[in-house]
């Protein structure tokens, strides 16, 4: 490792700052909304709520506890986890494709999930099954793309991206067809709102599945970080160093798809987090993959959490779509990356 004592302190400091930003953002997100709650009060409710099972002596408003524990807290936690999942998913895909511009959307996972949800809404599937449909659609899309990208001895990265982009286009057209052909306006509205991305109305039950997949995915990625570095030398050199390249690629792809699928199921189509977070992490922390992965997760978490906060507070009486907000930031960032990235890397 290259880090001398000085830069190691530096890394710890930066990671601590990121974690601090996460905590500060978390408190802000929990406290701000239609009803604003003082941070001290919120903390009392949250700590007391968990300790005393909901009886809060210090809080006068009985509804306050419900707002915090049933709405704000799960929503903020979901936003945080979705951000971390999409970000690390993007990190893996960038490592797999050796391309800093890759993101979960390039695998077609998100659009596959989107199509599944559109179909589910159209045929009137119960809302409770929406995450399951999104997950199944995403997985199906990833398998299809991976199948197309298959070649002797592993996955062709170029084919993976091309197939993903093509599949995204097909799914996009099918979604548009469904929206324009669906007879009833509420159904079309439902699809459009899901596609725009958002965490409104999600609760604790959504969080359980999501956090399990995300935690598992991040831990797996940390364990695979050394192999990610070996893979950066190219398939041939990695194999010559004893790596079963095709198995590693499948493992990484599966990890990325699980995290991305779980995130899409919980929040709809939230774009660009998987692109922005890993690139910011690489700008802040050089060379150590483990630090980068943790930083990527933290940055993604802060990013989606703050965007969700903006989505529910900036709109005049109505929520703004989270995905749309993030694309407003992410699109220009993507263009900036293209303009600064050297030709050979793209």
């Amino acid at each position: 490792m290259t880090s001398a004592a000085g830069s190691r302190t530096n890394i710890t400091l930066r990671l601590a700052l990121l974690a601090g930003a996460l905590v500060a953002g978390f408190m802000t997100s929990v406290c701000i909304g239609d009803v604003c709650i003082e941070p001290v009060k919120a903390l009392t409710v949250l700590t007391g709520g968990f300790a005393a099972g909901g009886t809060n002596a210090g809080v006068s408003t009985p509804g306050l506890s419900d707002i915090l524990t049933q709405i704000r807290l799960p929503r903020t936690l979901i936003a945080t986890t979705v951000g971390a999942a999409l970000a690390v998913s993007g990190y893996i895909l960038q490592a797999l494709s050796r391309n800093p511009l890759a993101d979960p959307y390039l695998t077609g996972v998100s659009s596959g999930a989107g199509l599944a949800v559109a179909i589910a809404i159209m045929i009137g599937v119960d809302f409770n099954f929406m995450p399951a449909s999104a997950f199944a659609g995403g997985l199906l899309a990833a398998l299809l793309v991976a199948q197309m990208a298959r070649r002797a001895g592993g996955l062709s990265v170029t084919r993976l991206i091309l197939a993903g982009v093509a599949l995204s286009a097909v799914c996009g057209s099918l979604i548009t067809l469904i929206i324009t052909q669906s007879g009833s306006a509420p159904q079309a509205q439902g699809i459009i709102f899901w596609l725009a991305g958002g965490i409104a109305g999600r609760g604790w039950s959504d969080l359980t599945t999501l956090s399990l997949y995300t935690a598992g995915g991040i831990i797996a990625t940390l364990f695979l970080s050394k192999q990610i570095r070996v893979l950066s030398l190219g398939d041939e050199t990695a194999q010559a160093l004893g790596v079963d390249v095709s198995r590693l690629q499948w493992l990484l792809l599966a990890t990325a798809v699980l995290m991305c699928g779980a995130a899409v199921a919980a929040s709809g189509l939230v774009a660009f987090v998987g692109l922005i977070a890993p690139n910011l992490a690489r700008m802040l922390f050089v060379r150590d993959e483990r630090v980068e992965i943790i930083a990527t997760a933290l940055i993604g978490a802060v990013l989606v959490m703050l965007s969700d906060l903006a989505a529910r507070t900036l709109g005049q009486g109505q929520e703004l779509p989270l995905g749309t907000l993030l694309s407003l930031v992410g699109g220009p960032f993507f263009l900036y990356l293209i303009s600064t990235t050297k030709g050979e890397e793209v």
């Binding site: 970080s225 050394k226 570095r229 160093l241």
Partner: protein, 267 residues
Amino acid sequence: MAGTIALQLDALSAGFGSKAVVEGVSLAVPKGTVLGIAGANGAGKSTLLKTIARLLPPVKGKVLIDGSDLAAMPLPHLARKVAYVAQDISSSRDLTVEDMVALGRNPHQRWWQWRSETRDKAAIEQAIKATDLQELRQKSIAEVSGGERQRATIAMSLAQEPEILLLDEPTAHLDFKHQKSLLQLLLRLKSEGMTVVTCLHDLNFIAQVCDQVLCVKKSGRAPSVQLFAGSPADVLTAENLKAAFDTELRIIRDSSDPQISSVFFGL
């Protein structure tokens, strides 16, 4: 020199899928010797070398290492025995020269392991020293020159502590000083018992370092075949070279030492 056979090519056809680029190569490489693979552009030298490294499956025939079939070996086990140095490698990550050399320890470590044990550290240090990279160890491999990166790649393969070292055109990016130190390094490794197989364009380099030369030759659209194989002193003759490269080359031999000859264009 005539010791145990480290590497054996058994009626080997190398290529892509079912399409052979080189066919019918049979050769035994004794432990502690250097084999040079020569031939014109497109004759399939690199394809042959990649098949020996198991980066390509053989189209036909077998590669045997210490008598056992290469195809049946687990990859990490193989990587502890055989190291392969590609012509030009880069990383999509920002690695230092030292980071890259340390990756040579991968087959000796557990797959999630980052920490270098004492043994790893010693191998890394030795590899860096052998390739004269002490000054460059903290430099990014994206910033060093092609020759320096090539030395770092060789250092990475030395850190693997292999029994057989495969080198694809190792002199390609090296200046005279570093060509000479590579020559000295190969001779030293050989004296320590390392078996080396290298693709080389430079016939003079072959003449000085190789115990055996294998020459492959392509004719028309058919796959290349083994044109000749033997010690440089025996097979590097004007007739053989004309057959191999379709051009006249002159050979100068030192009368006092039949091993050392020099090949030049003789215009």
